[in-house]
Every structure is written in C-alpha cells, then in structure tokens.
Subunit: 119 residues, 2 copies
C-alpha cells in the first residue's frame, strides 16, 4: 500500500510497446507504456481498455476514423472494437484494463507480450 | 466512443466532494472530483479505489499514518481499508472504482452522494 509517482516509474524503462504494471485494483491492472511508431490493428473481445496520455500525443486508429489524443486526454476502447495506436514521436500512456488483457488482443505474433513485468 | 479532455471536464464544475462520472469501462466508472477541507473516515468493503492527483495535492489519512499525494501520483486504497482524504487547498483528482462504490463507503450521512452525474 504505497503511492506511485508516475514520473519516477516512467524513468525506469525506455522500450516501446511493452507495458509495465504499476498497480492493481479489483480485477484490473494499471500499466504504463511508451509508444513510438505503428502498432497493429487488434481487438479485445471481452475487455474495455483505457488509454490516458501522460506525455506526448498519439493517434488511435479505428476502422471508423482516427482519434487524436494529447496529454491530459483519455480514450476508452470498448470491447470488440478494432484499434491501432500510432505515435510519430514517443508518447507515454497509462493503461487501465482487466488483468486478462493481452497487449495484441486477438492477434498473437512477435509483438505479443505474454508476461508483463511489475516496475 | 469519444475522447475525454480532463481539463475541459474539470472546468465544468466547482463543488467539492461530489464526484462526476466521465467514463465507464468494464464494471467501473472513471470519475473526477475536487476536494477541499476534510472528508470523513470510511471504507469500501468490496471495492479497491484509485486516486490519481491531477492538480494540487492532498493527504490520504489512514489509520496507519498519512500518505502525501502530489500531482502525478496515485494511490490505491484496498478494499476494507479505512481512509480519509484531506486537502488544505483545492485539489483535482481522478478516481477509478467499481460502479457500485459509494463515496462515503460504509458511512451514510449528509455527505453521501447516492446518485452521481455524468459530465
């Protein structure tokens, strides 16, 4: 039961597309992640997913159009909705999602992280 | 399915201790709240609760000691743990908690908000 300083946690890693767990509550994890470049379209059939921009900006591509997200904005991707985060420059994001959520959702490939680290 | 700009939402209300709903995911709400002054000790028997400081600072009083929380820090109060937020000056906080969570937990009095508004 300790507080989490987000900046301190962000300073602990530099790799992209590899979420780190920084908290848990109820059936969910709080994660921090850094994005840069393109991810891949995927969906989570049973989990809604929250993206809160901490630093920088990115585009959430949806099949229905793009959503531009800046620092201090969040977006909730409902279950079943295909999405693809894209960041021209590095962006730091807080995620909130059920513990069961896989980063690549219904797609399993070399970008899938089967096990996430706590930091 | 629209993004939420936190500053814009915070500008929509000024009252203290009355959380506003700004998003929902899975079985939880994302809420914004402004604190000033003392709340009351209470607990949530079945719900963990996340407090993320957006602007300002506050103290989370626990029976085991105080936790000082500043902008960019979050604290998760586990279910069953008595807590009492106290803010000397106004602070803006994001909450994440199950939809069933009552602001005053096991205590029901004049500060209880039985129904929260979406903003």
């Amino acid at each position: 039961m300790e507080k989490v300083n987000i900046s301190e946690k962000l300073a602990k890693f530099s790799e992209h597309w590899n979420p780190k767990i920084v908290g848990e509550l109820n059936d969910s994890y709080v994660k921090l992640v850094k994005f840069q470049g393109d991810f891949l379209f995927h969906k989570h059939d049973h989990e809604d997913e929250l993206f809160l921009v901490l630093k920088g900006k990115f585009t959430m591509r949806l099949r229905t159009g793009d959503v531009e997200l800046r620092e201090g904005e969040f977006f909730i991707v409902p279950k079943g909705v295909e999405h693809c985060p894209v960041a021209q420059e590095e962006v730091s994001v807080m995620l909130l999602e059920p513990k069961t959520t896989l980063n690549t959702g219904n797609v399993v490939n070399e970008r899938t992280k089967q096990k996430l680290d706590w930091i």
